[in-house]
């Protein structure tokens, strides 16, 4: 229910429309991030997150809509900044077998809806799609919605992610594991 509320939008925030400079800069930031992930530039990717970041992917169940969207207080990811850095450093070893040899991924972000708060914090909602192939195997597909809280930052990328909630569409992850990042 709370997740449903977040998806509809925060009434305390103001919509940022597509023709604005802010919208364009955020879209460019999101595309930049996707490009870093697909290029295995994980140590640059993790620098896009604020030190206080909360990075979560809640577990979803099939429920009646009257009981909510089915997201739970149990997660597939419940990371802070130090944990994300740990994941990245792990991927940089030669022994992270789930990604060694690496998957080929494509991260797509679309349908950006953007809002801005009085304090300058931005709420970005996107639909995401990640495709993965490994070894000589068939495609795997991860889709869902991502809810980001961004702040403007004096960095090349221009923003930092201070909260990311990844709402997967699947209740059962049918793709072996979640060794890719979102």
């Amino acid at each position: 229910m709370s997740a449903l509320g977040r998806r509809i939008g925060d009434p305390a925030m103001t919509p940022v429309l597509p023709h604005t400079e802010t919208y364009g800069r955020v879209l460019e930031f999101l595309h930049h991030e996707a490009e870093l992930l697909d290029a295995y530039r994980f140590s640059e990717w993790v620098e896009l997150f604020a030190p206080e970041v909360e990075y979560r992917m809640p577990v979803r169940t099939t429920q009646f809509l009257t009981d909510g969207e089915g997201f739970h207080d149990v997660d597939f990811f419940v990371d802070d900044h130090a944990t994300l850095v740990t994941r990245v450093k792990r991927l940089e070893t030669e022994f992270a077998w789930a990604e060694t040899p690496p998957s080929r991924t494509r991260h797509y972000v679309a349908n950006l809806r953007l809002q801005e708060g009085d304090d300058g914090e931005l709420a970005a909602r996107v639909n995401f799609m990640v495709t993965r192939t490994r070894q000589d195997l068939d495609y795997q597909l991860f889709t869902g919605q991502r809810l980001d809280r961004l702040v403007r930052a004096d960095t090349d990328a221009g923003f930092l992610v201070r909260r990311r909630t990844i709402l997967v569409d699947q209740t059962v992850i049918t793709n072996t594991n979640l060794s890719v990042l979102f």
Partner: protein
């Protein structure tokens, strides 16, 4: 080269191979054929998944009358529900009329389950209350008393863990668990009770269920399979770090490890915080406490596919190891595909800070995104793919470690214990139990129906 002169027909596969010859457990040789062969898989359905006891869930997952979760008993979908009287029941998730799934969510709270297809409605105790267009049935055409949801043949719980079987002639749960209860008490009964945190993680892996199962009684894969964590300094850079402790073979193919951690107080008594350690001394015998004192890690399997992982780990560089209790189940979907279920359990009396730390450590290290677990699945999938070819199947897999090691007669607990935590005696015992089940000639399905 058959080791059996004249095996009975049910013990012979269509190409003439004897099941017995595929699992030479005493020699530590396991044929690749058993992992992903469709004929073996079909036989497993009748001889194992329609017969053994299976974990369905924990009582804390359905605390209130009407609480329901969708689960699997063996490989059949079931509804696990607490009825209005508070009785825990499990039914085949299938209407008696056309067989439609009557529960189509993962969890809900219900008084009645109404089948979407023709509207047959069942009370949460399984009774058929109304069928559709009842006045169009003639005399004797609709016996509602006989058309309740199909219950599992037996359902029982131990320490809140709910198990069920489709075999009315299976031994009771109490007898099935046998001397494994002594060790279940150490893990799930240690502080007077555990509870499940939230809802399970569920994911599918392209593996034979048996490669996953095999991995849950295997300490010596950790150093290589999880070597990324050694590189990062999050596991000791010592190949023998998990080699100390005992491996125990209990009754009915149940197996476990009790493994020592670093030689400090922090890694004693499963690494639990002080207030829970005090509770352990209340709820366990001095002998059990002494076993737990020497134990930081434990993996156990209630035969065939239910496991606990009591571990201490860290998901974050520079943070200390934190204990957590992970309950696991593998449900085969096909010879080469398996649904993984993973629950976090915590002691009912655990303080909020410990719950949080235990929860975060579990999610970060285990489950599909866990920095340990994700590498395991890679191994199981590639082992499965490599077991498919006709040439590979001529060459059995190697399970010989510790085959000559004697039983440790000084072990005070039940079962056969072996000193050390690196060895394949628990693997061999699991496969021997598999062979025993697969050599039974049971038409369980027919008997179950006749017994109704």
């Amino acid at each position: 080269m058959s080791t059996t002169a004249h095996p009975p027909s049910h013990a012979i596969l269509s190409n003439g191979e004897a099941i017995e010859d595929l699992v030479r457990a005493e020699e530590g040789l396991i044929s690749r054929r058993i992992y992903a062969d469709p004929e073996i898989y079909q036989l497993e359905q009748e001889r194992i998944f329609a017969r053994a006891w299976f974990f369905l869930g924990h009582e804390s997952e359905i605390p209130e009358p009407g609480d329901l979760v969708s689960r699997t008993c063996g490989t059949d979908p079931v509804i696990l529900v607490r009825d209005d009287e508070g009785v825990v029941r499990a039914f085949l998730n299938s209407c008696r009329h056309r067989g439609m799934r009557v529960c189509r969510t993962d969890r809900e709270n219900v008084s009645f389950l109404r089948c979407p297809y023709h509207g047959w409605a069942y009370k949460n105790d399984g009774r058929l209350m109304t069928a559709f267009a009842e006045d169009h049935y003639g005399e004797g055409e609709l016996d509602k008393d006989e058309l309740g949801l199909i219950p599992v043949a037996q359902l029982d719980s131990y320490q809140g863990l709910i198990f069920a079987t489709w075999d009315p002639q299976a031994p009771s749960l109490d007898a099935y668990l046998g001397n494994m209860k002594y060790y279940l008490d150490i893990i799930v009964g240690r502080t007077g009770g555990i509870e499940i945190v939230g809802t399970p993680q569920v994911w599918d892996v392209e593996t034979s269920w048996k490669f996953a199962t095999d991995n849950f009684t295997d300490n010596f894969h950790v150093f290589s399979a999880h070597h990324s964590l050694v590189e990062l300094g999050m596991l000791p850079n010592n190949p023998d770090f998990a080699a100390h402790g005992h491996m125990i073979v209990a009754e009915e193919g149940h197996i476990l490890h009790l493994t020592a951690g670093a030689p400090t107080e922090e890694y004693e008594l499963l690494g639990l915080p002080p207030e829970l350690r005090a509770k352990m001394r209340e709820h366990l015998s001095p002998e059990q406490v002494e076993m737990a004192r020497k134990c930081a890690y434990s993996a156990g399997t209630v035969w065939p596919n239910f496991h606990w992982l009591q571990l201490m780990s860290s998901g974050t560089l520079g943070q200390r190891d934190v204990p957590f209790l992970n309950l696991r189940l593998e449900v085969p979907l096909s010879p080469t595909r398996t649904r993984m279920w993973s629950w976090l359990a915590v002691d009912r009396d655990a303080a909020p800070e410990f719950r949080k730390a235990s929860y975060e450590t579990y999610v970060r290290t285990f489950g599909p995104a866990g920095i340990y677990d994700q590498d395991d699945m890679e191994n199981w999938e590639d082992c499965t793919r490599a077991a498919l070819g006709p040439a590979a199947r001529r060459f059995p897999l190697h399970h010989k470690m510790g085959i000559g090691r004697p039983v440790d007669d000084s072990w005070p607990g039940p079962g056969r214990a072996y000193a050390g935590a690196y060895g394949e005696m628990t693997h061999r015992s699991w496969y021997a139990a598999w062979r025993t089940h697969m050599l039974r000639d049971h038409a369980v399905g027919a008997r179950t129906e006749a017994a109704r």
